[in-house]
């Protein structure tokens, strides 16, 4: 009995800080967040790794807040690439209710009927989204997605290793930084940079333009230290590499860790990306999912998310809450003129172009020598050798028999 009382006290003691923490989050009063309370609902949310304010001591835990507010349990999973998410949905093994893919993947999913139309009646906070993010090219009628975060691709470099002023993608092809250059380890971003450098469109379907980009990438390979995705954090923060292209939000995080790092927004222009919240066709709890999307767009929550991960928010109310320092940071919130004239978003390409890009990327990554013949010789040798051994063994047996 005594033990039970003790346990109850302990539980109560644990509750107090949790309750006070909750008291800080204000949500819109006229939205009924309680309608699924007590129904034992579980919402499956899939997001990029490190892309929401969860499990952190300094910032509030968005999913916890949602659970205490609505009584809906959140089952939070992460993935590391758009293609991984796509593969999981395609194989039918995943039953996500809420996903956050990027622009080009959203248009591909819409094309393949993998997303549900949203009921915006349930997402009144959609009105907070900045007008310039409405009706985007990946979802022209704006029926399937609610923008979550956006940003641009920038160059991040270590001022101790790079003395020059950098203002162009050409720096990534500069022999001076041989062995100190990192590059995207995914074809879409890597080709994107090579295409912009040559003044082509990111979404070109022209084979000769893609070929030129591939040649540039092959040329660059000689001076590239390694092809990375999230490994970049360690390498740039630790000073193992001098210069690399990466997403602006992550560049902000890296610069916080290592003050020697600086950034550049290339003059040729860059890729602007938007990640937006969607509901897959197979979702079990559509209305609860829409409630979750609305919750993500509560000013306080959107503010917590964008300050925690460092990306830019399309939510105007959350933007107003930001410090002036962040609001005026051209890396996170570039001026409208640059955004208008110099940035381009990825679109879903035709299957033929996707296939062709993939093939070119393989050529870039693989060693140049074509060793078909070598392989064949090896196989033949192996078979011949094995026959020879068998014959010799048979002979030996015969000899032994005598």
């Amino acid at each position: 009995m005594k033990f039970k009382a003790f346990a109850a006290c302990l539980a109560a003691a644990c509750m107090i800080p949790a309750l006070t923490a909750n008291a800080f989050v204000e949500v819109s009063k006229d939205y009924d967040y309680k309608r699924f309370d007590g129904k034992g609902l579980t919402l499956n949310v899939a997001n990029w790794g490190e892309y929401m304010s969860v499990n952190s001591d300094e910032s509030l835990d968005v999913n916890n807040e949602f659970e205490t507010l609505t009584g809906i349990k959140v089952n939070y999973k992460t993935y590391s690439t758009n293609e991984e998410l796509y593969a999981k949905l395609m194989s039918g093994g995943a039953d996500y209710d809420v996903i956050i893919p990027s622009d080009y993947m959203i248009s591909r999913m819409i094309k393949e009927n993998m997303l549900q139309k949203l009921d915006f009646e349930n997402i009144p906070n959609f009105s907070l989204i900045d007008k310039k993010f409405l009706n985007p090219s990946y979802d022209p009628t704006n029926e399937y997605s609610v923008p979550y975060m956006w940003g641009i691709v920038c160059i991040i470099y270590n001022t101790k290793m790079v003395a020059d002023k950098i203002d162009s993608w050409n720096a990534l092809w500069d022999e001076k930084y041989k062995g100190n250059i990192l590059m995207f380890n995914n074809p879409r971003d890597a080709f994107g940079i090579a295409l912009i450098k040559n003044g082509f469109s990111l979404n070109t379907e022209d084979k000769s333009e893609l070929q030129k980009a591939a040649e540039d990438l092959k040329e660059q390979k000689k001076i590239v230290q390694s092809y990375v995705m999230d490994e970049i954090f360690d390498k740039m923060e630790g000073g193992s590499a001098a210069i690399a292209p990466y997403y602006a939000g992550d560049a902000v995080t890296m610069m916080e860790e290592n003050p020697d790092l600086s950034y550049c927004i290339p003059k040729e222009g860059t890729n602007k990306f938007v990640d937006a919240v969607c509901i897959p066709t197979a979702a079990q709890h559509k209305e609860a999912a829409e409630m979750y999307i609305n919750f993500l767009n509560e000013p306080e929550i959107a503010y917590a998310n964008c300050t925690y991960i460092g990306y830019s928010t399309p939510n105007t109310a959350a933007y107003e809450l930001l410090d002036d320092e962040i609001k005026n940071n051209p890396l996170q919130y570039p001026d409208d003129e640059y955004l208008q004239n110099k940035t381009e978003a990825f679109k879903d390409l035709s299957d033929g172009t996707n296939e062709y890009t993939k093939q070119l990327w393989n050529e870039v990554k693989a060693s140049s020598s074509n060793s078909w013949v070598l392989m064949l010789i090896f196989l033949i040798l192996a078979v011949v050798l094995s026959i020879y051994i068998n014959i010799r063994r048979a002979k030996k047996k015969k000899q032994d028999a005598f």
């Binding site: 293609e83 991984e84 092809y227 490994e231 193992s240 693989a366 192996a382 063994r393």
Partner: protein, 272 residues
């Protein structure tokens, strides 16, 4: 009676094999020979020709790391097997100690060590040596990662075979005038050939199909066949049909190499 009993005891494993080995194998074969629409095709297998350089690289690196593992593992396991039993236990525990730590973490640690700003360079820097810039992101680093991760899989089977070699056999050989080298080549190696075979299999097979070691230590420009296969399922280029075809080709090659090696092994046995 006896055989039905044995069959009964073996049945859980047979059922396990049927469900989790035979069925997936059939799925791989099924995927490899079909298109997205489910029609029969051999195009997937034909496309794998594009990846021959990668396949060769994977085989080459796997062969090198297996050889290094054997060269390091053989003397170590022989020495351990000749020690007092209580010492043997301690050394084996030490050998297995790193394996208590997660595989990914151990590989990740090598990244931090080998980085041009990493711990090794910093340590050498204290004595004014270095820094060495090219320790990471090359094939050598991949081989290092493989040897480091798979060495226990070579030592353990070798050790378990070598402990069974009776000391008196070695003494007999020495009595008959064989020197140290002759003892190793004429007595120890032939008697532990089964262990060598098992060890080589257990190192070679995971080495040839590894993907995370090459990604972490190879710097993304030394993709192995495992990386390519992984990309077909979870990565940038989603195509399970091509992935299955590649996996099938890899499987055939591994079987071929292993059977070849097995024949060498048998011949050694006969020669004695």
């Amino acid at each position: 009676m006896e055989s039905t009993k044995t069959k009964l005891i073996a049945s859980p494993y047979i059922i396990w094999m049927a469900i989790f080995i035979v069925v997936p194998l059939c799925l791989v074969i099924g995927f490899a020979f079909t298109t997205k629409d489910g029609k029969f095709t051999i195009e997937n297998i034909a496309i794998t020709a594009e990846y021959v350089p990668v396949l060769l690289r994977s085989m080459w690196l796997a062969v090198i790391s297996t050889a290094i593992c054997l060269i390091i593992g053989f003397p170590v396991s022989f020495i351990i097997s000749r020690l007092m039993p209580n010492r043997q236990g301690m050394l084996l525990t030490l050998l297995l100690l790193p394996m208590w730590i997660n595989f990914l973490l151990r590989t990740y640690a090598w990244m931090t060590l080998l980085e041009s700003n990493g711990l090794i360079n910093k340590f050498l820097g204290l004595f004014g040596i270095g820094p060495f810039d090219n320790m990471l992101n090359n094939q050598g680093a991949i081989v290092l990662g493989m040897v480091y991760n798979y060495l226990p899989f070579m030592i353990l089977p070798l050790y378990s075979v070598m402990t069974k070699i009776d000391e008196s056999i070695i003494e007999a050989a020495q009595d008959l005038g064989a020197n140290y080298i002759k003892v190793i080549f004429k007595v120890v190696i032939p008697l532990s050939i089964q262990g060598i075979y098992t060890g080589v299999t257990m190192v070679f097979v995971p080495s040839i199909s590894t993907f995370i070691i090459s990604r972490m230590l190879g710097g993304g420009s030394n993709d192995l066949i495992g990386d390519i296969i992984e990309q077909q399922f979870l990565g940038n280029s989603y195509n399970p049909h091509l992935g299955s075809a590649l996996a099938l080709v890899l499987m055939v090659i591994v079987l071929l190499v292993m059977s070849l090696f097995n024949q060498f092994g048998n011949e050694e046995n006969i020669a004695i």
